[in-house]
């Protein structure tokens, strides 16, 4: 049996192809202006890597904010359900999943089987999502990758007054004018995002182990900020952006029986 999970995120589309429970191929493609085109390209690329014809996939399950728009999907599952399902497959013993993408953040409490017990979502406000770090790196004129690393070089905490990403951008500009080192500004921004995420995590309750998934997990400054705020280490899977697509592919297998 061949199944696929497709995760239609705000910024990237991810596909994982499973053959009898083993990952055969995966791909990630920038969403761009045409979600359909991005989804098809991503599916094609993953199928090529798996050495299969996309037409031979028995069941495709879509997840992510744009899941209703996924082409050729046989079923769909919420982001929360897919993240939980994928997580238990990747690592045992995780009871709290923090999933932060470009435009959404989620905190999910799960049991040992990957069943969702409770969750909280922020999809309303950029201040608790990846888009915030992105716009701040633009304001500082450094690459997003560099921006995250800069944060680790700082040993100073500057509290940000602004709660809102739009207002924070002006605050960052003022800090630049005040000759504040970029590394300290970077840390201030990551701490600000982390504090929003952590307050969301506290709403569902913190049960060890805690895992961080989603595209923002690639940012070491952000991982560090959350760890400091929670005062505990996080489990970050090797490929944090594929966890939900993997979860969707596993669900596709369950539904195809």
């Amino acid at each position: 049996m061949i199944t696929a999970g497709i995760d239609m995120g705000a910024k990237y589309v991810k596909v994982v192809i499973l053959q009898d429970g083993t990952v055969k191929g995966k791909a990630i493609v920038l969403m761009g202006f045409d979600p359909l085109e991005a989804a098809s390209a991503c599916m094609k690329e993953a199928a090529e890597k798996a050495g299969i014809d996309p037409g031979t996939i028995d069941h495709i399950t879509a997840t992510g904010a744009g899941r209703k728009a996924a082409p050729n999907a046989n079923s769909d599952i919420t982001d929360v359900g897919a993240a939980a399902k994928g997580m238990v497959h990747v690592k045992e013993g995780v009871h709290t999943v923090i999933d932060v993408g470009a435009e959404e953040g989620r905190a999910i409490k799960i049991d040992a089987e990957g069943k969702v017990i409770d969750f909280a979502v922020n999809e309303k406000c950029a201040a608790g999502a990846g888009a915030f770090a992105e716009s701040m790196s633009r304001a500082l004129e450094v690459s997003l990758e560099e921006f995250g690393k800069l944060s680790l070089q700082s040993d100073k905490s500057i509290p940000m007054n602004a709660q809102c990403a739009v207002f924070a951008e002006s605050e960052v500009v003022s800090l630049v004018h005040a000759k504040t080192p970029k590394r300290d500004i970077s840390r201030a921004v990551h701490d600000a995002i982390a504090s929003r995420i952590v307050s969301m995590v506290r709403r569902v309750g913190i049960n060890n182990d805690i895992a961080l998934i989603g595209g923002v997990s690639h940012n070491p400054g952000f991982v560090d900020a959350i760890q400091r705020s929670l005062e505990t280490d996080l489990i970050v899977p090797e490929e944090p952006d594929y966890v939900s697509a993997l979860g969707a592919a596993i669900v596709a297998g369950e539904r195809n029986k």
Partner: protein
């Protein structure tokens, strides 16, 4: 950041004084200065009547912004800051006004100023400022009974409108009227967050929406956002809007429609309400001071 880019969000700065009034014949010259997060206004009253005002962008520090606004209001009046009997500072930079005798919150000042500018029947004042939005309930004397404020989030504040003016490359003074020039009302932009609304607007433009249609969708989203704030505090007729967005017909008309009220009109500039209220307080405080001195 982009020094050479045209700044569509910038609105015109101006000052005014009444040439038919003689400040030397006034008993009390009182002044108010409202240092907001985006703009600053100074107002000068002669015995409680409007004599001069200015409206300009707030600079990087409050004391200078307050001084500049006041000096600009005083321009060509023959008066200097030393001629002012009493000055009240208000707004977010109120504690940093070097020449003020007292600081009073902008909530109290907007209620007091609104009471004079729109008449004493006004019971609900919506102040739509540069980086915040306040719904204020007040009594016939212009005293605050209750209020609610959003200063945490750019949605529903002037800042959101500035972002859209820049995105669509349309001067901020024109966006309101333009948004009304649509054949039918589009559904409002669905994202609350200004950052997300911006991406949403870009998608709509790519789908072939006209700039006017996108503006209409944003103005109605903004109106809706503010209505939810108003509903939490309760809207009492008569209703008035102060601040910069009061000049944006696209938001105001949609707000009136959603609330099913007509906002009161005023012959005064909506942006000077806070400074006007501060100057009215300053006049009262001068009288109190004089009574004390003669007692």
């Amino acid at each position: 950041m982009n020094e050479n880019k045209k700044e569509f969000w910038r609105w015109k700065e101006y000052n005014w004084h009444d040439e038919n009034k003689d400040p030397k014949s006034a008993d009390i010259i009182s002044a108010g200065v409202d240092v907001g997060s985006v703009s600053s206004q100074a107002v000068i009253l002669l015995d409680g009547e409007l004599y001069a005002y200015s409206n300009m962008r707030t600079g990087s520090d409050s004391p200078n912004s307050a001084k500049n606004a006041m000096n600009w209001a005083l321009e060509n009046t023959g008066l200097t800051i030393d001629d002012l009997h009493y000055t009240v500072g208000t707004g977010y930079g109120r504690v940093n006004v070097p020449f003020s005798d007292r600081a009073i919150t902008e909530i109290a000042c907007h209620a007091r100023g609104g009471n004079l500018m729109y008449g004493n029947t006004v019971r609900t004042i919506l102040d739509m400022g540069g980086q915040d939005c306040k719904a204020i309930l007040c009594d016939e004397k212009g005293k605050v009974k209750n209020f609610l404020m959003n200063d945490k989030c750019a949605a529903g504040t002037g800042r959101g409108m500035e972002v859209f003016a820049d995105l669509l490359a349309i001067p901020i003074e024109e966006v309101g009227e333009m948004s009304l020039d649509v054949e039918e009302e589009p559904p409002p932009v669905s994202s609350t967050c200004v950052v997300f609304a911006k991406s949403e607007a870009s998608s709509l433009l790519r789908e072939g929406w006209s700039k006017k249609k996108v503006l209409a969708a944003y103005c109605s989203a903004m109106a809706h956002r503010v209505v939810s704030l108003l509903e939490r505090v309760g809207v009492e007729k008569d209703f008035a809007i102060t601040g910069g967005i009061a000049k944006n017909a696209g938001v105001v008309k949609r707000l009136e429609k959603e609330l099913n009220v007509t906002a009161l009109k005023s012959k005064y500039d909506t942006q000077i309400a806070g400074a006007f209220g501060a100057a009215l307080f300053a006049r009262t405080l001068t009288e109190k001071q004089r009574k004390k001195a003669s007692a």
